[in-house]
Symmetry: D2
Subunit: 283 residues, 4 copies
């Protein structure tokens, strides 16, 4: 398989950025195969892709040389990814399996680039059967009201696998600030409402109560503030008159599946830049 | 044109309601042409339609006879509408004309049943030209921070026309509890966000700030609590990376147009029952 | 679990049908819990649901008594279903597993009423692993260009299980008229295009060629004419500039999954009436 | 207002195109403010935008200098547009006014860049009132079964205004190959079905007949083959059970409005490249 690589770049918007980026690659005899850029109020964001060999043995090596470009602009941040390196995805789940199953299926179908699911942690033993079906290492970790009681054990498992990304497949437990810092990789959550509406544990009940005509789901990167992280993807589905909370949960499951696995895919394809508690998502 | 009539009915859910409703009409030699019913947690809602002549000279007359059915069930409420009576729609507008224009066009195109727009009140003189295009009586009423200063004049105009429904086409002013009570008919508002997210005056700015991936619009009946009334219709549109607040406002306009005129249509077709601060909307 | 039952009814539209249906149930001391009706150009369609015991031991018994109602109207057809009887679903698959997996998951999640998947027939051995995961009897049947060569063996398997419904989960083989007649139950197919566009074997390639901006999927009951059966459900997804045929196939898979399993659900909930090569689908 | 300009570029895909494009502008001391590119099976497409002054007095001048870049690649085609030049839009209409009104409103609201509607030709006198409302020159041209009888008169009017784009707002008449060639500018049509389904004059009737669950609209550039031109935009809306052809026409109107005015906007923003009877549409 041909090696594909990408650069994600952000800086303060000004003239000359596109030319500087393109020139850098030309100088290194690399032809950009995909160039996508956006500008926000005052920021510039770009994702560049190239195929085949390149002169950099790793990201640190790239950064050293790219520094000359980055230094020309203000508030610069960037990261590079070489897709020949397999990515390890860790999954957390609670007793609702639908988003988990969809993620397992997408991964098995090859929808995620060079990705393997390295472990599945759940606080319900009923989840083990899904791990077995897909031959994924399973860890049952009982959870408590006080997260400190179970996070240590979870962090030991994470340390063992060193995942590149963690997906919370309806895990439904609050993560401490310390856990998020110690995990060592981005964490993607699926929330079963159209945020910022209906933050917290009972969004379908609250949506029913308010009488909204569409219900939704939101996938976001996890930050210490509950359900406040940068949004990656959202979608909605229409509620019909007379739909009960139970029915809303059932139709909501399909939206949650779609939103969660889309967000995981964007993260694993390195198509997101977070800034200012928002996410720029590339096509 | 053939006379069409409808009954909207609500009561505590229990056995025998459908049979009782159908029997009442059969006893009056009326064939139901459309029957739609829903049940919620503990309530039953129905809308029945029939065509042609009937023995009731008006709603009061109907109510007198229907009382025998209504008395069989708990928490009953009902209303009847005969579509031979032309309906009068009053419109309020501020300086943003897009939802107003869409409502004027829908009415002209005959999308609303037997409806005429009887007046247009705006706090911006720039709106008068739209009234002229459609030959609608126009009233310029200057508005103030304190609504009491302008609501008296507005209520005099309303009293003059006695509308069956008022539509707030991006009117953007808070109505007092007293005004709502005195208006004498339901009031439909369009809010430019996907409620309950982003209540208040700057929803697109807040949506941009939060980084949501879909923006929306909500049409609801007006109650004294701001943006808290029973929701009639909602819809959303996708935001693309780099979309500015200005761009969000532009794409949001089309959603606002659709949601507002759909809600007006449902109200004018007598296809809504409000209860418990929610709206059952019939097809 | 409480017994739920339903009646699906169709006849030539005329006055008095609703009253006649409701009265029949009242005469049998049954309270209708759900009543849904539609009228088309000249036909009337209804679905009635009731809960709890009833005086009919089976559908034949019901039909005998209901005959008095049916006889009052023209072109009448009806069927009754008692949901206490478990329904058997048979699945056919080819080598693309995504719609199959979604159907297996929906069934396992309890989204289909009182349904068990009784068998899975595939012409690719790679499908067996999915059958094993969900503990479904699997039958490998090799297929040939001439369907007569494999249909006999398939029909023997069908005869063994007597399914109530067969779902073709991207089976991708033409069924003979004889097979359809001999199967003894309705057959639901998923076609990977927005029919009637792009009939036949290569819809994504044809959609790409034509440059359409939305691609879709269609689930329909199978009739002898290829891809011409009554449509149950359709949906679409947007194509972005530069999307290859391969990418269209990937995003199309999610639409196919949704459309196929929605259609299976409607069939298994007995919410469809076919007539005039169309399908009335109840909510 | 600041001058904005754009280049639309297409060639056979190979390495080095992005660098060559970017370098050309750098050499002319122009900073690209927006860069968007796609690759198809074997083609490369890009749209570049820049702001402010530039050294080219017109498109011919630009082409002369850009020729050196274009010559480096195969099957190259390009065009440049300077948005300081007002664009003239001509509209054709028949008796259905909804897409026409939406285009008039969008233009008045400033949704199209530096665009004025220079004339409206209709074959129904009932359309004149819309022209008057928006103060647009109106020309009534009676149409005949044989288009040769009216196209000469229409072409004289077109010649008088020299529009940059013609929009057929439900004009519903077949254009001859000679007319299309003589018009001297691209022509955008709205077809009231989800093409390639239901080509021709009665799409809603055919959609009803086939029992599709979604109906749609398609906007495309006009070529001599009827309804076969490169598609710019499509969208759909869901049909509910019992919806009549009349109801489908009514809900279809809103989709037609949206699709037509979106397509006009894309054409007027110079965001389309047609090739191989398809349209690449930039964001």
């Amino acid at each position: 398989m041909e090696l594909t690589s990408c650069l994600l770049f952000r800086c303060h918007d000004e003239v000359g950025i596109i030319a500087a980026l393109v020139e850098f690659f030309k100088d290194h005899k690399i032809s950009i195969s995909r160039f996508e850029e956006y500008t926000d109020a005052s920021s510039f964001f770009a994702r560049l892709e190239w195929k085949g060999d390149h002169p950099w043995s790793n990201g640190v090596d790239f950064a050293k040389q790219f520094q000359s470009v980055a230094a020309q602009f203000k508030n610069t941040s960037f990261r590079v990814h070489f897709f020949d390196q397999p990515q390890k995805l860790g999954l957390f789940s609670s007793k609702e399996p639908h988003t988990l199953i969809e993620a397992l299926n997408k991964c098995e179908a090859g929808d995620y680039p060079n990705t393997e699911i390295s472990f599945l942690i759940a606080n319900s033993p009923s989840i083990e059967k899904y791990a077995k079906r897909y031959d994924i290492p399973f860890h049952y970790v009982k959870t408590y009201k006080d997260p400190v009681r179970h996070e240590k054990e979870q962090l030991q498992i994470i340390a063992e696998y060193s995942p590149n990304l963690i997906g919370l497949a309806r895990y439904m437990k609050i993560l401490t600030k310390e856990f998020i810092a110690a995990a060592g990789c981005p964490i993607v959550n699926i929330h079963h409402s159209f945020l910022p509406s209906f933050v917290g544990a009972k969004p379908y009940e609250l949506a029913y109560e308010r009488g909204v005509k569409l219900i939704g789901a939101t996938s976001h990167y996890v930050i210490p503030a509950l359900d406040q992280g940068p949004i990656i993807e959202q979608d909605v589905v229409r509620v019909e008159p007379g739909d009960s909370v139970e029915h809303m949960k059932r139709i909501g499951r399909d939206v949650e599946k779609k939103v969660f696995t889309t967000a995981l895919g964007k993260a694993l394809q390195h198509k997101t830049i977070t800034y200012d508690n928002k996410t720029i998502v590339f096509n």
